[in-house]
């Protein structure tokens, strides 16, 4: 695992920013006497079914560790029952974790008393819910202002602030409707606005778009991309939809049965699946839309090659490179800070598309064209300094669970 994720990724240039959330060895076990499970090595080694049979407990989150860096979109993805929704609720202790540590900006969340925890929920982390969680008896404006009202802000001031946020998410003119009179997409915009109104440090999304129609879902995803580009707010995004994860995530933690089975950039997940489970998961993703030229490039063979040809950012996808190479009729250079890192030629790009490139994991099988939409909307935030596909090797220490438990098969 450790070798596969870092293969072909050159040392990063960005300085590691301090993590917003730092989660270490987190457990959430439901059931009688849940506390004994994480403490007992014999029990932690059991499979979920065995654990249930032995103790009557269900471990929703099992020994999960990760850091969420400032300004990034951190996606937790997994199928239903993988523990991802429980995980995000543990972050603000909407669900009380069983074991492990959670720190926000270095402050221990599990040690917080009631008022400190309220403070955290009021000002530092706001959440957007799958089924919106709006108050049906309040207007859109009052729903958006609710978080401010809870903080004790005066009526006129909070309404003014709420009106700004309502405009920001594109709900002008609907301020005095009630949630029951809105469409699903509009309701989720209200939910988003309510979270934004309190100006939180982190936005937590719990499968926010799963209940929406596909077209509206895409609109909302683009809305999130836009907000992130404009404000650079840290986001933790839960989803069961791989396309959504690849589109939005700077980094993705893939969960199965409560464990993180792989944590990495979309490119790493698609290019170097950690095990068969992940491989089966990403099989149908068109890799040219995810793999970057940084991975696909080869060192320049001559000074001549390094001096001519169209220039590309290292974060550009293979799809973009194909276009540039096709236009120029020659190999393209990968440029960073005026320095040529390497070149990509038609042959290298073709081998990525064909799935024969050596950088990629053994991806086989059919390729559903157009199944993945990792369009340029997602690229700019990824290119932001510090939030980019930050060096992969730094990832390992933050994720011991991964390194110890998952072996590529």
């Amino acid at each position: 695992m450790s070798t596969s994720t870092s293969t072909g990724t050159p040392p990063g240039t960005a300085r590691p920013p301090a993590p917003v959330f730092s989660v270490d060895g987190l457990w959430k076990v439901f059931g009688p006497k849940a506390g004994r499970v994480p403490a007992d090595p014999e029990l932690t080694a059991l499979s979920p079914a065995e654990l249930r049979a032995r103790t009557g407990c269900t471990a929703a989150v099992r020994d999960v560790s990760f850091d969420v860096r400032k300004g990034e979109v951190f996606v937790v993805m997994g199928l239903s029952g993988s523990g991802k929704s429980t995980l995000v609720r543990c972050l603000t202790r909407l669900i009380e974790p069983t074991a492990g540590t959670i720190a926000i900006d270095g402050e221990d969340v599990r040690a917080m008393d009631k008022s400190r925890l309220r403070e955290l929920r009021r000002h530092r982390a706001a959440m957007v819910f799958q089924h919106f969680g709006l108050l049906p008896h309040r207007t859109v404006l009052d729903n958006v202002a609710y978080g401010l009202e809870v903080q004790g802000m005066g009526r006129a001031e909070r309404r003014e602030r709420a009106a700004e946020v309502v405009a920001k998410v594109g709900l002008e003119g609907l301020e005095h409707r009630r949630p029951g009179q809105l469409s699903g997409g509009q309701r989720q915009r209200v939910g988003l606005a309510r979270a934004l109104a309190v100006d939180p440090e982190v936005l937590l999304f719990d499968e926010p778009f799963s209940a929406l129609d596909p077209l509206i879902r895409r609109d909302m995803q683009e809305e999130v991309v836009r907000l992130h580009r404009e404000e650079g707010r840290t986001m933790v995004f839960i989803t069961h939809d791989l396309q959504e994860a690849l589109k939005l995530g700077d980094r993705i933690a893939l969960m199965r049965d409560g464990r993180v089975v792989q944590l990495g950039t979309p490119e790493e997940i698609v290019g170097s699946p950690a095990d068969d489970y992940v491989r089966a998961f990403v099989r149908d993703v068109p890799r040219e839309q995810v793999v970057t030229v940084r991975t696909a490039m080869r060192p320049a063979s001559s000074a001549d090659e390094a001096g001519a040809g169209p220039a590309l950012r290292p974060e550009a996808t293979v799809t973009e490179a194909i276009e540039a190479v096709a236009r120029a009729g020659s190999a393209a250079r990968v440029m960073s800070d005026g320095r040529c890192l390497g070149v990509v030629d038609a042959e290298a790009l073709l081998s990525v598309v064909a799935g024969t490139a050596d950088t990629a994991g053994p991806v086989e099988g059919s390729r559903a064209a157009g199944a993945a939409r990792v369009d340029d909307g997602a690229s700019p935030p990824r290119a932001k300094p510090g939030a980019g596909e930050a060096p992969a090797e730094r990832r390992e220490p933050t994720n011991p669970a991964l390194a110890t438990t998952e072996e590529p098969v």
Binding site: L94, L120, F132, H137, Y146
Partner: protein
Amino acid sequence: MATITAPAQKAAPPGILTNRAARKLLTLAVAAAILVPLAVSQWGGTTWPSALTVDVSGPLGTASDWIIDNRDSHPLFLYFFGHVSNAVVISVHAVYLALLAVGWAGVTAVGALVAWRVAGVRLALGTAVAFLVCGLLGMWVPTMQTLALMVVAVVASVVVGALLGLAAGLSDRMDRVLRPVLDTMQVLPAFAYLLPVVLVFGIGVPAAVLATVVYAAPPMARLTALGLRGADKEVLEAVESLGTTARQRLLTARVPLARKDLLLGLNQTIMMALSMAVIASVIGAGGLGDRVYQALASVDVGAALAAGIPIVLLAVVLDRVTGAAGERLGDAQASPATWAYALVAAVAVALAGRFAGLLEWPEAWEAEIAGPVNRAVDWMTAHLYSGVPVIGGTADWAGHFTTWVLDPLRDGLQWLPWWSVLLVVAALAWLIGTWRTALTAVLAMAAIGVLGVWNPSLDTLSQVLAAVAVTLVIGFAVGVAAARSDRFERWLRPVLDVFQTMPQFVYLIPVVALFGVGRAPAVAAAVVYALPAVVRITTQGLRQVDPAALESARSLGATSGQQLRQVQLPLARPALLLAVNQGVVLVLAVVIIGGLVGGGALGYQVVFGLAQGDLAAGLVAGAAIVCLGLMLDRVTQPTERRTTKGA
């Protein structure tokens, strides 16, 4: 018990043992084969063995004498019940005086304006007309007496109910404690509540108000708890994620989210309070109920009708206005300004009425209906009662029903050995519910025997069974018809609405007019009272059958009769069982009240106990009514199994 069948089942499950019902019956038969010979050898005979009765009338009489002697001296009465009693009397009197001071014009105007604001123009007109009719019938003063008692009782019920509901809604432990109590209170006949309060407070307004509160508070408590618990989990989570305090969550989310349930609770509490306020005339409530009671006692149908019509109008208006308030919740709320205008207008009308001397309803405007109605009843008695060619007369019907149905049923029940009655109760309750419900039912039935009122209770039971049978036959037939014909249902719905809102007491008036007094009229009143609920539940159950299942049956070429028999009725089974349960509970309530019109048995013993001041006898009958209600509810209660399955 279960262990007896377990080995047999393991060896080789014969067909009969795989059937759940058969297995239960077999277990019961084995238990009976052991217990019955023992019991019979010890205490034979058909009626409950006197060796097993406990005479409680002695101690009860002593207790009631003690209370009567100490009512004015004991500290408990001086410092607690005395204050409660005084507070009730003072507040009822204050409301009554206020209503009189506002005058009929003012009361009508205020009522109409409130109805207009919360429920729209049509109901405002309806309210005004209802109040004017009360005046026209010469019932203004009794109407205001009933209204004053109701206002105090409803306010107290809502406060008590909401507090209990809040406790049960917020604390799981409270909920576990309160729920069975409230559930049971809801199935008990109103009459059962009268005697205990009379024992403490004596006959009078305080007893009437408190009986009403005890009867009317449970729905408010239940629905408050239900509303608080039923709130959308994700909304509550979202609210919590914003950092709310527990108080903020309660006030800004949980209570507003429960508004619909709270208003439904208010609606039910008002309807139950009205029903009880009328029945409580038996223990000195006064007002409209008292007029009906007095008129029925002298079989003066005209006078009873003149007091009964205002009761019905009051019920319909109160139900529609509070119901509409619940339905209009989602709409834009009226601004405080319009309320202010409405208030000013009402005050102006009241003042105008006062200066125009319209405080008391002018006697010249009263319409005397008692005379004409009584003449009509006399004509009916003369022409329809008896001897009508071919079809016979109403009194003949009642007589035949008594001779051919009620008497054999009663005699049959009383002829059955006491242990076989227990066995039948156990078998029925276990087949429909669980062994828990069966045990409760058997214990309740046994308690009746222990109290020494076995025979009168079986008399009441025979009336209940006859009424339930008639109700179910008619109810299911009408329900099926309504489920199959949209036009019939549209026509039926408003009729059911009105019938369901009427207080139990009112049903006695027409049956006395038609059938005279006796057991048959009591049964008839019970049937009429229980029928709307049974019809409604049946129709709803049949209509809510999964349309996909019905469509697939149709696509296979099933005739409509086959669809009904093979798809709709089996799928609507839970609804039909609920209809039976409701039918039994409602029938019992009215059969007991039927004691006022010659129904005899337990109801009569309660009335007799009240009338003679023999509280001990009345209390025993009241306890038997509670046991009978408990037994009948448990025997027909299919809900228990469903909840255990879901958990």
